[in-house]
């Protein structure tokens, strides 16, 4: 007898067992994707009573997405993409640079730096939300006000402990011999970094890329603090304002919610392997 799993379900093949399995797995898929599929269908649905949303399309329409334009939904979407685009670029650059130092250099104070990184991961951003708003309105020493700017939403997500640590673990695996050979050939620090280390870490870039994307896309409290005026809103925080509308019902809200959900779902499906790897290697997402 062979066991591929704890319960040994796969070796049970009778009609009862098969039916049971089909029921369980269908139920799982329905429960966890049901609300999302419901959203997908309802967003394209014509008649929407404001109380419920339907799992059955009555009449296909793009009306909700057209009306969304009048409600500035596409402006919010653009804001979201600006923040996630620049934020992710900055976050990945910062992570790769920091990881290079932590993985491949030895210097006094390294343990301390690692400890700092772990502290930032233990410290949920929600806790510092109020003082962060004070700091953002008047950066110490620089005296710049970042409230109401894209930079205010981008810079705070620029350094993320999770990305740095995942990248560091990966960079440690790159053989020292490659680096030393390049050094003997007279390559400088930046060249070694850019032409040897970073290209070899491409799989890890996928991991921190997809995690960083979902993390920044899902930001809520930060844009809420930084963007008091609606022209700077990102899509997630704008959803609230689309809720109750006398003329359009919940159609626009559903269309906007769908637009807010799709990018991270697409990112996940496209980078699934990297996502699972990051999940099990770090097991830390905060």
């Amino acid at each position: 007898m062979r066991f591929d799993s704890a319960l040994g379900l796969e070796s049970r093949r009778g009609p009862v067992a098969t039916t049971g399995k089909i029921i369980i797995y269908t139920l799982m898929v329905v429960v966890f994707t049901g609300p999302l599929i419901g959203l997908l269908i309802s967003a394209f649905n014509k008649t929407l009573d404001p109380t419920s949303f339907s799992l059955w399309p009555d009449e296909f329409t793009l009306e909700n997405f057209i009306q969304a334009k009048d409600k500035n939904v596409y402006l919010y979407l653009l804001n979201s993409f600006i923040v996630v685009g620049f934020g992710l670029l900055l976050q990945m650059l910062v992570s790769v640079f920091a990881a290079y130092s932590l993985a491949r250099k030895k210097f006094r104070g390294m343990t301390f730096v690692l400890l700092l990184m772990l502290t930032t991961m233990m410290l949920p951003e929600e806790i510092i939300a109020i003082p962060l708003s004070l700091v953002l309105s008047d950066l110490p020493l620089l005296h710049i006000n970042l409230i109401g700017t894209y930079a205010g939403m981008i810079l705070p997500v620029g350094a993320w402990g999770f990305s740095i640590l995942v990248m560091t673990e990966f960079m440690k695996e790159v053989p020292v011999e490659l680096e030393e050979a390049a050094r003997i050939d007279g390559a400088g620090e930046l060249r070694i970094f850019a032409t040897i280390i970073v290209p070899l870490c491409r799989p890890a870039l996928g991991v921190i890329g997809v995690f960083g994307f979902t993390m920044i896309w899902d930001q809520y409290l930060l844009p809420l603090i930084v963007a008091p005026e609606s022209d700077m809103w990102t899509l997630p925080i704008a959803l609230r304002s689309l809720r109750s509308d006398e003329e359009v019902g919940i159609g626009v809200l559903l269309a906007a919610s769908l637009l807010a959900l799709l990018p991270s779902i697409i990112a996940f499906l496209a980078f699934q392997r990297q996502f699972m790897r990051g999940l099990t290697s770090g097991a830390v997402k905060g």
Binding site: L7, F32, S95, K105, L123, P131, I164
Partner: protein, 309 residues
């Protein structure tokens, strides 16, 4: 280490002492590469942390200037019944979500463990709630929670013969409804971590147990669950860090209502800070939340050590 052999006199600031410059260059480069990260952390994590600690001792006034009040803000929090209720709601929500997600996640992981291709599909589909944007998902659930008979969830429980529920609209069920959604979103994550843990269980132990005629339940109880112990602790620690700080779910679904029945610490802090402009008290609330998180993390770690020894 560094290229001492290469003739590069221009790089060294003091040509007379090459060894010294070499000794300094390594660490200097290391710190330069670290600088962006450290600067961003300093500005957006550590300075806010200390500003929060500092402001929590003041009555913060925008134009009149801050007034030192010592520990009075903390006293306000401790004696305020709203804060007490919010802390209680946060703890209930955190514990309920954590336990619910871990138990369900474990059961589901056991059910869909295996190498079959269709199981991979089930896993991927079930994992979708984890990656979705919280605010959008919460809007969807808010619509599904509609209290009338035509509400989505009421239709579903109607099929099971259960009467329509008020969900978010009632003081008695608002917190539990939020918990339901959080478990829906948390379970697949825990399930994936358990699945990763299950891969590491020694298969020969299962076979040995089968030879000895052990039942499935005993196999589970004596082989699988002990092997998963580290995974339990990881999930508990994570939940301790994340659980108390819940904000978006509550803010979108109920904003603390009805009548404060689902107010959690973060929604209360947010209201104090940004709507009532009580920045001092709100900062103190943040510090309390931080301390609570810290204590919870330490407790979990101590329990873990004790059980390991």
């Amino acid at each position: 280490m560094t290229s001492t052999l290469a003739p590069a006199p221009r790089r060294t600031a003091t040509p007379g002492h090459p060894p010294r410059s070499v000794r300094w260059r390594g660490p200097l480069i290391a710190w330069l590469f670290l600088a962006p990260a450290l600067l961003l952390f300093l500005y957006f994590k550590f300075i806010p942390m200390f500003v929060g600690l500092w402001k929590s001792l003041f009555k913060v006034q925008t134009f009149l200037g801050d007034e030192w009040v010592g520990l009075q803000n903390y006293q306000t929090i401790i004696s305020d019944s709203e804060f007490g209720a919010a802390i209680w709601h946060s703890v209930v929500l955190a514990l309920g979500t954590t336990i619910g997600s871990i138990v369900l996640g474990l059961v589901l992981a056991l059910l869909i463990e295996g190498p079959a291709r269709y199981l991979w599909f089930v896993r991927t589909a079930a994992f979708l709630p984890v990656v979705t944007t919280m605010a959008a998902v919460a809007e969807v659930w808010r619509i599904m929670f509609h209290p009338a008979d035509s509400g989505m969830l009421n239709i579903v429980i109607g099929w099971l013969g259960i009467d329509a529920q008020p969900w978010l609209a009632s003081e008695h069920s608002s917190l539990w409804s939020i918990m339901l959604m959080s478990i829906w979103r948390g379970t697949p994550y825990d399930m994936m971590i358990f699945l990763a843990g299950l891969v590491g269980v020694d298969r020969s132990l299962y076979e040995a147990a089968a030879v000895d005629g052990a039942s499935t339940w005993r196999r589970l109880r004596h082989i699988t669950l002990p092997a998963l112990r580290p995974v339990f602790w990881i999930l508990f620690t994570l939940a301790a860090i994340r659980g108390l700080r819940v904000f978006v779910e509550v803010y979108v679904l109920t904003n603390g209502g009805p009548n404060g029945s689902s107010e959690v610490l973060m929604t209360l802090i947010y209201k104090l800070g940004f709507q009532k402009n009580e920045l001092g008290v709100a900062s103190a609330g943040g510090i309390v939340l931080f301390l609570a998180t810290l204590v919870l993390t330490v407790i979990v770690q101590v329990m873990r050590r004790r059980q390991a020894s």
